[in-house]
């Protein structure tokens, strides 16, 4: 176990190095000179002297490896530079928007589990039955529907026609009513995956001896399923939910843009529209580290639950 942890960390180091290199490269591979882009206002070109001056001040005249090391040093301290557009520190903008994304994703996760676990169990209890078919098709649809289309269907139905929820916006500090529709749009895909996983892991557990023994004691099917089997069947679901949480970041890009939700997905899209390279760079680095941490946590969780598994080099 210790060795597994150590190796996992060792592998992570070169990966993080590459990730940082890639993020660093973003701003230097961008078309045009960073100093010039930075000082060019929509109104007109930049002053030559000012560009030169700024270039020296920002260290853009240094050789790339030096720039990289400096940038890395600052990034480690949480200094990701300043937004070209607002002048705000990139790091604080990211943290603020990430908080909104986190809130939305959490609700999304809860809704997705609330919908998928019962459906998964029901499907497993009666394979081939009507609910099983419904679950199958819902799962297939969930991974096939574009989330941006789903978002608009939800708005059309529940905001415009039924007027149950607001169309979009952050409302009063991101209240629940404003969160429901984006959360559903965001969670549909992960709910689909969970339905199928819950079903198959439930079927697996139901085949095992202790369940058959419990049945033999005369306990009813549902009693055994909910009392004994569900707990174990939830383990893989918990694992995949961790990963789904990471994948929700992908969905947040479109969903947050549509619902004008001030999260990290909306942030990256608006930064791209505005060619705000420090922000794009910062967000990219941030989500990569987040993604790596989530995967690490999921692996640890899995390792703790399955101590018997040997972590040989695959």
């Amino acid at each position: 176990m210790k060795i597994f942890l150590l190796r996992r960390a060792l592998v992570l180091l070169p990966v993080m190095l590459l990730v940082s290199l890639f993020s660093f490269a973003l701003i230097h591979m961008a078309p045009g000179d960073p100093a010039e882009i930075l000082l060019t206002s929509p109104a007109g070109g930049a002053d030559r002297a000012a560009v030169e001056d700024f270039r020296t001040k920002m260290g853009f005249d240094q050789p790339l490896p030096v720039q990289y090391l400096r940038w890395l040093g600052r990034a480690i301290q949480g200094d990701l530079g300043y937004s070209y557009m607002t002048g705000q520190p990139v790091c604080s903008a990211i943290l603020a928007s990430f908080e909104s994304t986190l809130r939305l994703s959490l609700l999304s996760m809860v809704l997705s589990l609330l919908a998928s676990i019962p459906l998964g169990i029901w499907s497993a209890m009666r394979p081939g039955s009507f609910p099983d078919h419904i679950g199958r098709w819902l799962a297939l649809l969930g991974v096939s529907v574009p989330n941006f289309w789903l978002a608009y269907l939800l708005i059309l139905m529940f905001a415009i026609h039924l007027k149950w929820f607001p169309v979009a916006g952050y409302g009063n500090g991101g209240d629940l009513m404003h969160m429901v529709l984006p959360a559903i749009a965001l969670g549909a895909a992960s709910a689909s995956v969970t339905i199928r996983l819950m079903r198959s892991s439930m079927l697996d557990v139901l085949q095992q001896d202790y369940i058959i023994a419990a049945r033999a004691k005369g306990l009813g099917g549902w009693q055994v399923a909910l009392g004994h089997a569900m707990k174990n069947a939830l383990i893989p679901v918990a694992t995949i939910s961790g990963l789904n949480f990471g994948y929700m970041l992908n969905g947040s890009v479109v969903v947050e843009t549509i619902f004008a939700w001030p999260g990290i997905g909306g942030l990256v899209v608006s930064s791209i529209y505005q060619r705000d390279y420090p922000m794009i760079q910062g967000v990219t680095l941030f989500v990569a580290l987040l993604f790596l941490s989530i995967n690490l946590l999921v692996d640890l969780f899995y390792a703790v639950l399955n101590p018997g598994i040997r972590y040989e080099r695959e």
């Binding site: 990730v19 096939s144 529907v145 574009p146 289309w149 890009v253 990219t284």
Partner: protein, 279 residues
């Protein structure tokens, strides 16, 4: 029963896809109108006999645009997956087959790419290169090749202990020959499954990026950008959004049906036939 299900699923997916491919191929003959013909008199008109899916904000025939857009979506899906396969299969099989330092090097590279959530990586590439069809394709290849590399590597490693590879080696065959003739044919099945699912994913991602205005540029009919055009008229003319979205969903669903059906079909067969029939 299960086998029947997966076969039916595969067949259904295949039939829908054939229909879509035919429609895309003969778009010029099937579409009732010119896809870019504006007709301001018919602006935002609801579906009618003449325009079965109605007209968009410039009075263009939505049905015709959807039909022509099938071309670009299928094109993007196939091109992106083919390129990703090319890179992924080459690097994955080399990593898996030779192992050691080369494997370590390639896989850390793959891991670094996988560290970025796919949408953000694609956006970063587009942010760098600017929008447009070829940059969209590049962005999606950057995102997708790693999945194939990882999968192929795993498959190759699981083959490595097989004696038929030792037998091929003891013929004095070169590594390149063994890789191409003995290793790759045996990873074909999972690659096929992943490609079918991958095209679906690609179409979904490409339309999402086009929807954000960062993919295919205006002028070319594309499902995602049609949805983008329609978002302002959601209240007055929801048909602008309903039909293109339906087109994406059905196409992606068909690829998922095909892919999942194939997976269920191939997996048990590969496993059982080797052990059962030989006994």
């Amino acid at each position: 029963m299960r086998e029947n299900n997966s076969r039916r699923q595969m067949l259904l997916g295949f039939m829908i896809l054939s229909a879509i491919a035919l429609v895309a191929f003969f778009a010029g003959m099937i579409a009732p109108h010119e896809p870019n013909q504006t007709n301001l008199g018919e602006r935002l008109s609801p579906p009618s006999w003449q325009y079965p899916f109605g007209n968009d904000n410039l009075g263009r025939c939505i049905l015709s645009r959807i039909i022509f857009a099938a071309r670009i979506s299928l094109y993007i899906g196939v091109v992106v997956v083919s390129l990703s396969l090319l890179i992924g299969v080459a690097l994955g099989s080399i990593a898996g087959y030779f192992g050691g330092l080369l494997d370590e090097l390639i896989m850390r590279f793959v891991d670094a790419f996988l560290a970025f959530p796919s949408m953000f990586l694609a956006l970063a590439v587009i942010g760098l290169m600017g929008p447009g069809l070829s940059n969209l394709i590049l962005a999606l290849v950057v995102v997708e090749w790693t999945g194939y590399a990882r999968m192929v590597r795993g498959e190759v490693i699981s083959l490595k202990g097989k004696e038929f590879l030792e037998a091929a080696r003891s013929l004095g065959a070169k590594d390149s020959y063994i890789l191409v003739r003995h290793v790759l044919p045996n990873v074909l099945a999972p690659v096929l499954v992943m490609s079918a699912l991958g095209i679906g994913f690609t179409i979904l991602a490409a339309s999402g990026l086009s929807f954000l205005g960062l993919g295919v540029q205006p002028g070319i009919p594309e499902w995602g950008s049609m949805l983008d055009d329609g978002r302002l008229y959601l209240r007055v003319a929801p048909h602008l959004m309903i039909f293109p979205g339906l087109a994406i969903t059905i196409t992606v669903l068909a690829f998922n049906l095909l892919g999942e059906g194939l997976r269920d079909e191939l997996n048990p067969r590969l496993g059982s036939s080797i052990h059962e029939d030989a006994a």
